[in-house]
Symmetry: C2
Subunit: 460 residues, 2 copies
């Protein structure tokens, strides 16, 4: 006999289900017959529907079985030992606690204030009223309208030659690299990367089982001789603004690289991550635009000049890789919310993107120059500039012996977040990456002032 | 001597840069000295700034070199053969053309009309005005507020036991699987999957180099004996609503599976993809909630009940995998736009999600029942139902010999898109997946009527 409480919030059929389940687990054994639905209903003064509903649920979960024309029987649950949920199963596995930084020189930060908030909101409100299909899976490669905008923009500003069909919209650089690593695995097994170079690039390919070759970077960018001896078939490079050294690969080397890759039928991954942000010259044209042999995968992102929080990047696949891509399941699953894609599409279409870029370039050029000035003022002749003129950071290096380890710990103690080139790029190349993007103009002086105290204490 | 056109839109320094570049490539050789900036300025009646700007750009791109106190010299470009961009480099590599379907029975479609458009728009407008930082990289695992909402929802509706820190927000199922495959590669090398089963699941793991084992599925779900012999350490299952057969794993087998995985220190991936959509019983509680040994990765998605176009899914990692995840670079790169995350967070927080689910469940239960009725009416006794009562499709199978190949081609000819279980899940299990989610109530009858003609023509 089960007892029910009409006042309890739980419907009666759930109360009955719980009661029978409890009864089965504690008192019954395999093959025990349950009273018929009608019988149980009469006994407990419940409707037949209520009892049927409880029995159906018990059947669905496997506690009882229904045998046609014979009735309901308890299943074989001999194995089942129900342990009550452990209270402290939620072990508080401590995660690294976030330090509230006073100054964070992160070299890939923008100021939220520079994001075109009102415009974005207005465009979003408009696109969502237009024909967005929220019920279907959109194109896995991205919205065609957005891809057309990206192709047109790249043709104009970077000399990239491509059709919209070659543009694949991704949620970030690592996401694009992962898609690519998977896509070309049947063709290649050895991946070459700049050394020093961006640490995430080779990690993605290493995870997919590629052999990794580190190719030294000199004053002219990637060492082409070393590339040839390495046996790498795919090579990841940042030719216009090498990460982290900042050097640009001269045009002669670009041509040599293209010819070599053509000869071995290899692939170049051109990461053009902050091409929009050059302050002293016009942007150096892309390698992709020089290539005549469809040997380049071009990678770009909106993270460095619009927002890293929107999660939109793209890659341009060469024609010969398209069939493989479109045959894979990846072509069915887009990586970016349709609302973000559509808003960005209209943002570009109506010319806001180019206006935004002009604004950002002016703003960040100013901050770049201020950072340089502030460093000169505070540090005097104790440092040299290793790389400048582009992106969101100036790279500096001490002129005298310097205690790098102390610099790191002391800065943390003073809640100043510093970025050391070595930590994210491997190799012997060391420099401090003095990011200015996240600071206002006044903050630059304050931040450098605070940093100066750390710097002075570490000089030997 | 170069010629300039003041009326051209291009600034003079760019015209000069182009002219010198052309000159270098056609007439000059390595080591040729360029006239000094002053000389060129005088000669062409240009300002020194204009000339300096052109020279700087040529230096940056590697056409010339500046030697301090000596001047500017042409670089070694002997290798450089500039081919003009080929006009038909844009080979129109034909992609499969989209067929304009009259009726599409896609089993994972929703109706755009059922998306809470106005509400979403209103919430978006509010969250974007609140404190979103568009300048920084958000938490790679997702916004903590959203993760708290997901954890609370799963605890309530699916019996899932987890902390918000265990929730990783992803852009979709394949995205989550990919992250996981990478994360546990050091621990495991053999992946077991249901056979028949969801084709994407094992593809992701195969791409990461895992050995794949196919484990048969019977009337009680996964064959546990076969699992043991397979040697799989990770097993992917859909225990509450097996894909594609629709069976639920009974509670006794769940306990056995959990005990086995505990014994081998393996891992279960529980894909609970359409748990919200059960029409005949209450949802079957999750396997994760039964587990006492932290051996389950739970996968869920908003694609099946909110929108597949928003690209939001999640996985719940067991505690012991968290340190590896948080140490990887993945923890730094979120997969979903912050605006989408924040909007969804508020959508859940204010109770709209649960209201939406109730609405959707009622709507789709009705469509489910209509589809069944329409099939009965049109096809009579020529079919049996293989799976029903949940999700967005009813699975049917002909009672008599049937020409499956003809069915496929004839349907395409009549522009009716059908889905065959075998095509997406492997094995011998065949059934037609009659998706109803994308249709209005009237469309269900029309679609089944049109489908009936194909069906009749294929019966033998």
């Amino acid at each position: 006999m089960y007892f029910f409480d009409e006042k309890r919030k739980q419907p009666l059929h759930i109360q009955l289900y719980e009661a029978i389940k409890e009864d089965i687990l504690t008192n019954r054994q395999k093959g025990d017959k349950l009273p018929s639905i009608r019988k149980t209903a009469t006994l407990h003064n419940l409707s037949k529907t209520t009892v049927e509903s409880a029995y159906t649920q018990l059947c669905a979960e496997g506690y009882i079985e229904s045998i046609p024309k014979r009735g309901y029987f308890v299943s074989d649950l001999s194995f089942t030992q129900f342990t009550p949920p452990a209270q402290n199963r939620r072990s508080q596995n401590a995660l690294p606690e976030a330090i509230p930084w006073r100054y964070d020189f992160f070299p890939a930060r923008l100021r939220s204030e520079d994001f075109p908030l009102k415009l974005w909101k207005r465009l979003f409100a408009r696109v969502i009223d237009e024909t967005i299909d929220f019920g279907s899976y959109p194109d896995g490669a991205g919205e065609m309208g957005l891809r057309e905008q990206i192709a047109a923009y790249l043709a104009k500003s970077r000399g990239v030659v491509c059709r919209a069909e070659q543009v694949i919209v991704c949620s970030g650089f690592a996401d694009a690299m992962s898609l690519l690593a998977k896509l070309v695995k049947r063709r290649y097994d050895t991946f070459g990367m700049e050394h020093p170079g961006y640490h995430v690039a080779h990690k993605v390919f290493a995870d997919y089982g590629y052999n990794i070759r580190k190719i030294p970077v000199g004053k002219q960018g990637l060492d082409l001789q070393a590339l040839e001896t390495s046996g790498a078939q795919i090579v990841y490079i940042t030719p216009s603004h090498q990460y982290p050294t900042g050097v640009a690969m001269p045009v002669a080397n670009r041509q040599k690289l293209l010819a070599y890759i053509k000869r071995i039928e290899g692939l170049i991954i051109e990461d053009d991550y902050d091409s929009e942000l050059t302050y002293k010259t016009r942007p150096i044209p892309s390698l992709q635009g020089l290539d005549r042999n469809n040997r380049i995968v071009y990678m770009g992102t909106f993270a460095k000049s619009l927002s890293p929080a929107l999660r939109v990047a793209y890659m341009i696949l060469p024609e010969h890789l398209l069939p493989d891509y479109y045959e894979s399941f990846d072509a069915h699953f887009p990586h970016v919310s349709i609302t973000t894609q559509k808003t960005l599409e209209h943002f570009m279409k109506e010319g806001h993107w180019e206006r935004h870029l002009r604004k950002i370039r002016t703003l960040y050029r100013k901050k770049h120059d201020l950072m340089k000035k502030a460093l000169r003022k505070r540090l005097g002749k104790t440092f040299t500039i290793v790389a400048e003129g582009g992106g969101l950071a100036i790279l500096i290096y001490p002129t005298r012996p310097f205690n790098w380890q102390k610099c790191k710990t002391l800065a943390e103690k003073k809640r100043i977040k510093l970025y050391f080139a070595k930590e994210r790029s491997g190799g012997d190349f060391e420099a401090l990456r003095m990011g200015f993007g996240g600071f206002s103009e006044t903050e630059i002086y304050e931040a450098v002032e605070a940093f100066g105290e750390v710097w002075d204490a570490c000089r030997r």
